[in-house]
Subunit: 226 residues, 2 copies
DNA sequence: AGCTGGGCAATTGTTGACAATAATGGGGGC
DNA sequence: GCCCCCATTATTGTCAACAATTGCCCAGCT
């Protein structure tokens, strides 16, 4: 009988473990509690996360590997500032990798998943017609996640997830662009249709076309913004 | 990536820095001095790398993020064992990302680089005709590196480099397959021609066809091997 | 006033020791 | 003889203190 290692055992010293700190800090950055360019002082994070500098340091190193923070020797860490050019690059890579995922999904889709895809498609159309942008954005994420789940491509998954984390801020800006849902809805519907139809090439093409239009929208924001 | 700017300053006290340790350890793993599944005991690495456990630990964390080693809590680190299925997955992602790179290269190639491409193409043909497999393998790497350099896509570069590191062992096996150079030479030549001709779609298609055949070869090895 | 240089405070880099955990091997019971 | 349990050992996880570096502020000079 194994005693619960976490609840009973009082490690005498309080303090969250390195993994917890890493996840908490990632969430905080993704939520925008720390803005790009903001310095991440180790001592401050120690009190915020209720842990030791050792764990903070490990967490920062991990997030640096993920591309969320940037550490300079003897100068500390700061939230990485991704330029629009980088955001475009990242989205380009996402385009081709998600294309691969869509193709695999079209090969591996089963009736249950196909039904789920349809449901999301219907909900998306309703959300757009009702002008519920926030809801549409959530469904968008659910669709991409479901496609990835169907494909079951662990390597591609990991990469897409890492890349997505790096540009959450830009994606947020994107969702505010007026007319964006109306543009992307038919693209999403084509992706769903292609996967349902078990047509890998069409699914890849549809996904790439979709994300390609995301890139165009990003570039458009760039013009307006700066 | 950018080389560490601080190479001049020697911190007086012995012991290599974390970055040096990371690079050295990566080289050692890639060279096969540590085999997949082999345990990487921190204390041993300390003496091997002439540094402190702190740096060893940081290096291991970095390499874990790169996918070269695997760390289990309280159980230490070991060289990651990539299954053939994973190697195929990794190469699939490489296929689409290098396809993107080839397309960009076709857009951005200049006369000087075009000449370099031609030179590599000529040397490759000679190497195959002379049966110099080792030389051909080197040229293969040079070709892919040059294409990436022409494309100048930092994000895609980083990903391809990371993925490549994870399957060096499998790639080595691949180079031993008889008849492999004869298969891949015309593929390489098509890639070069497409980039020279500034035809992005053709370049992407050629690159994907090439790496697709690499995947087939990997699968073939799998049958024979196990 | 603007610039240069030195000292000071804030922050990070590093170390060694100690605690907690998993692996190992030996002794006793069946 | 074989198996299980417990002590021992090897290894990793964590910490707090110390050393080194950077950037800043201000005095003094041109």
């Amino acid at each position: 009988m194994a005693p619960e290692p976490s609840t009973e055992r009082r490690p005498a010293r309080a303090g969250n473990t390195a993994v917890q700190v890493r996840d908490a800090l990632r969430d905080a950055i993704l939520k925008g509690e720390y803005l790009p360019g903001e310095r991440l002082v180790e001592a401050q994070l120690c009190v915020r996360m209720e842990t030791s500098r050792f764990n903070v340091r490990a967490a920062l190193a991990d997030l640096a590997a993920e591309g969320l923070v940037e550490v300079q020797r003897n100068r500390g860490a700061q939230v990485r500032k991704v330029s629009m050019a980088e955001a475009v690059e990242i989205t380009e890579v996402r385009m081709v990798v998600e294309g691969l995922i869509a193709a695999r999904a079209a090969e591996l889709v089963d009736p249950d998943r196909a039904t789920e895809l349809d449901e999301i498609g219907v909900l998306m159309r309703r959300a757009v017609e009702a002008g519920e942008h926030r809801r549409y954005s959530d469904l968008n994420q659910r669709l991409h996640a479901l496609v990835r789940e169907i494909a079951g491509h662990a390597t591609a998954d990991r990469i897409v997830e890492t890349l997505r984390g790096q540009i959450v801020r830009h994606q947020y800006m994107l969702s505010l662009v007026p007319g964006r849902p109306e543009t992307s809805l038919p693209q999403h519907e084509r992706i769903i249709a292609a996967i349902r139809g078990r047509d890998p090439k069409a699914a890849e093409a549809a996904m790439r076309e979709h994300i390609s239009s995301v890139i165009e929208a990003l570039r458009a924001i760039d013009y307006l913004g700066s």
